[in-house]
Symmetry: D2
Amino acid sequence: MAGYSANKQDHAMRLRRVEGQIRGLQRMVEDDQYCIDILTQVSAATSALKAFSLSLLEEHLAHCVAEAAQKGGPEADAKVKEASDAIARLVRS
Amino acid sequence: MAGYSANKQDHAMRLRRVEGQIRGLQRMVEDDQYCIDILTQVSAATSALKAFSLSLLEEHLAHCVAEAAQKGGPEADAKVKEASDAIARLVRS
Amino acid sequence: MAGYSANKQDHAMRLRRVEGQIRGLQRMVEDDQYCIDILTQVSAATSALKAFSLSLLEEHLAHCVAEAAQKGGPEADAKVKEASDAIARLVRS
Amino acid sequence: MAGYSANKQDHAMRLRRVEGQIRGLQRMVEDDQYCIDILTQVSAATSALKAFSLSLLEEHLAHCVAEAAQKGGPEADAKVKEASDAIARLVRS
């Protein structure tokens, strides 16, 4: 069971909303809508994806990383390194 | 006709690919996959959206903004301001 | 004369303020202050740098790019490409 | 003692380098250098600040957050929440 299972419905709903935003973008391109309006919608979708990943990351720290830290040892270090690498990818994406 | 019409097929294809990534994320959450793998996929989708918006923005500068600049006057200033605001939203999203 | 000369004092002042923030960060590290407080200060400095670059970019579009667009030809295309590349670096930094 | 004390010299050196980049930017503005070259240097300074904060954050997770997780209880939850909020500010700055 993944650490985010308690909020699975919430995550699924957020992602469905992002999917709706991406479909909306496809229609906007199809209908030759104005670039700036499309860019505004892209910024909204990007922000929604970031909010999703920040919420997932918080759960990951609270469950997987915290549990590994309680056990300690190299496994704990590996979990912290793995989470830090994911944060770096997120910050740079 | 929007300034990006020449590359409409290309834009539509990029967005369909992002839609596929978002659907993939929904399956990953549904299947309780590991948080870090989901976060990696979110970073990929965010990067794809940014690449889409940068390509759209370049076309907008090359067409709408350049045409307004050729005419000059307050319309030109307004187009530059509008594009700058869109860039700011993009940088901060 | 660069396109941003009219606001040179303003730009110089913004950068002096960022320099002050970076010196503040050095003192915080020197004094072993709490990581989270340091990270908050880094976010403030990063936001200030982004605001500086967005303001510089807007001037660049309004002057250098607009002037090149008025002349037209390959020089205009090159200026748009150059500005778009700078925006891409900014979005990804 | 802060969690990053072991790498204090390393952090101090990174920040001195960023300070040098900001001073370089001030000279570039003073000398009316080309906007695009200034923007490239801003992107470099922003990336250096992000690298600094990611390295500080990794140490914070490895020390402060991991120690709190070992003790457990509300203190552990508070540390995770605090770190998540710092990550969110970083991602959005």
